[in-house]
């Protein structure tokens, strides 16, 4: 049996103002996984991450990193973790090189190795040319990459990223995805929280959804998407169309003179749609999902959990 990269059991966190951020979180992430922790604002994602890397003290529960209990040997557990927080948390007046080099020193890396690794990760993240600049001079995307370089400099086995691509433009986001995929392919377990569900869908093999301090779903991305009972597809046509094509058993609506959308239930087939359209001499030039599939599922799950919570409150 393999040791989990991260194992959380019955984790609770209550802040001084009485707010219960975590209400018994259970979570397990396997080594080598690319794992997404999803949830709306205030759901408990950042608190969970902060407890794992000791920025917040838990109220109760067990957290193990590669089977190292953080209550028993947090120092050892921390060596296995690299963390990229949501907010920029480096000295704005320090040089880019110094920030990464200093972090290597905090992890006890000898000077030559620390400098070698600093160069390696600044180059991999396209920041080597900026190494002598004060960090405040970097763009938002560069600052995010700087935090990733800093988190990787001690080569952790578990990399935790809290909304790493927030505020990053599409091109840079794609290049960061590629970089993270490569890091993961080399064996680093990655956990990320994100608001971009497209990011989770394209990167992560497993997903947990947290809402109001509880995990409401924890499964593989593929399995989760399988639960989607209905999808809406948009069809773009070659010919101009005046009305929604009639397709028996399917509902939909006309969007404009060259496109329409159709709702497809889980037990229905797209072949039927294409057959009917061909019979009507309508040629489809492209087809796409109306919304991100995971996003639809996420919204429905969080909404249903919200309703349950309200129901529970009503009973008490």
């Amino acid at each position: 049996m393999t040791t989990a990269a991260l194992s959380i059991r019955n984790l609770h966190k209550q802040y001084d103002n009485g707010f219960k951020a975590l209400k018994g979180v259970d979570l397990e992430v396997q080594p080598g996984d690319f794992f997404a922790l999803l949830g709306p604002n205030g759901a408990g994602k950042s608190t969970t991450i902060s407890v794992i890397c000791s920025l917040v003290q838990k109220t109760s529960g067990d957290v193990r990193i590669f089977d190292i209990d953080i209550d028993q040997n947090f120092s050892l557990a921390k060596r296995e973790i690299g963390v990229v927080p949501q907010e920029f948390n480096f000295n704005q007046f320090e040089k880019v090189f110094d920030i990464v080099r200093t972090q290597a020193g905090y992890f006890g890396l000898p000077a030559s190795l620390a400098e070698e690794r600093t160069e390696k990760y600044l180059k991999q993240l396209g920041l080597w040319d900026k190494r002598d600049q004060a960090s405040r001079m970097l763009s938002g995307g560069m600052k995010r990459r700087l935090m990733i370089a800093r988190a990787l400099v001690h080569e952790p086995k578990l990399l935790i990223l809290d909304e790493p691509t927030a505020g990053v433009d599409i091109e840079l986001r794609r290049s960061m995805w590629q970089f993270l995929k490569e890091i993961n392919a080399r064996g680093t377990t990655i956990i990320l929280t994100t608001h971009y569900l497209e990011e989770a869908e394209s990167l992560c093999r497993n997903v947990a959804i947290i809402d109001r301090g509880k995990i409401v779903q924890n499964t593989s991305t593929r399995e989760l998407l399988r639960k989607l009972s209905r999808e809406v597809f948009i069809f773009d046509t070659k010919e101009e169309i005046d009305d929604l094509p009639s397709i028996a058993g399917y509902s939909g609506q006309l969007i404009d003179s060259h496109s329409f959308e159709v709702e497809v239930e889980k037990n229905q087939s797209l072949n039927e749609i294409f057959t009917t359209l061909t019979e009507q001499n309508i040629h489809v030039v492209s087809m796409r999902n109306k919304a991100n599939r995971l996003e639809e599922l996420f919204v429905s799950m969080v909404e249903s959990h919200g309703n349950e919570s309200v129901g529970e409150k009503g009973k008490s």
Partner: protein, 257 residues
């Protein structure tokens, strides 16, 4: 962490701290040198001769040890309070908190940074004083020990202030309203034997009096207080503040919530 890794982490913190105050030397090293030089000119050269002797020494000779000590106290305190509060404010303290560096290494690293600045400014001021008077050192070990312990003590005090501070106002309140009055009334400019008996008693409740007088004893060989008692008190406070700082680093909700 192994001993070797702890040594590397400690050196990293100290180098970072020393680099910080030397990088901004115009804010950290030059102003105290100018301020104290002005004290030398005004109190030593212009007003001093009219005051006459104090405890058997010319006024400039009497006031130099106090002014050196004042610069050590102020700078060791302000280095740690501004540096550590700065890391809290910018959240770069998280770099340390997520790393495996033991808390005692973090604390000692910051204290050594504060001591380095305190001693650097003390040395600059001492060199400047040589333009105004000849310095004698009566007890080398006592002189070095008290200046070092004082720098440690006020670095620790600065660290505690930084942990509790919620704003930049909070890091200037203690130096302005506590440290400066205690220093000025701590026998820097006068011997407490000049005070009425009641105020002599009150002055003895001021811990800075003991440090200034012990340092003066080290240089000039005269003191208003018992030197052994002064060392006991300073070492005791160092142990107390170090223990409390360590507790705060491990448990303070202002750092880990």
């Amino acid at each position: 962490m192994s001993f070797q890794e702890q040594r590397i982490a400690f050196t990293t913190i100290v180098v970072k701290e020393v680099r910080r105050f030397t990088r901004i030397w115009l804010q950290t090293l030059l102003p105290p040198a100018i301020t104290i030089a002005l004290y030398f000119v005004i109190f030593g050269t212009l007003i001093g001769p009219r005051i006459g002797e104090m405890s058997g020494f010319s006024y400039i000779e009497f006031v130099v040890p106090g002014l050196i000590m004042m610069s050590v106290i102020t700078n060791s305190y302000s280095n740690v309070v501004s540096s550590f509060y700065g890391t809290k404010f910018q959240r770069s303290v998280e770099e340390l908190l997520v790393s495996p560096v033991p808390n005692y290494i973090i604390l000692t690293g910051y204290v050594v940074g504060g001591v380095a600045r305190g001693l650097a400014v003390g040395l600059i001021v001492t060199c400047l004083s040589l333009f105004f008077t000849d310095l004698q050192v009566s007890h080398v070990v006592i002189t070095v020990a008290i200046v070092f312990l004082t720098a440690v003590l006020f670095s620790l005090a600065g660290f505690i202030n930084a942990v509790y501070a919620n704003s930049f106002d909070d890091i200037s309140i203690v130096p302005t309203f506590v440290l400066t009055p205690l220093t000025y009334l701590g026998g820097v400019f006068y011997s407490i034997s000049m005070l009425p008996e009641f105020w002599q008693g009150v002055s003895q409740a001021n811990p800075i009096l003991y440090m200034v007088n012990t340092f003066r004893y080290g240089l000039l060989g005269v003191s208003d207080i018992n030197v052994a008692w002064a060392f006991t008190m300073v070492i005791g406070f160092c142990i107390l503040l170090y223990s409390y700082s360590l507790y705060l680093l491990g448990h303070a909700k202002k750092l880990r919530n």
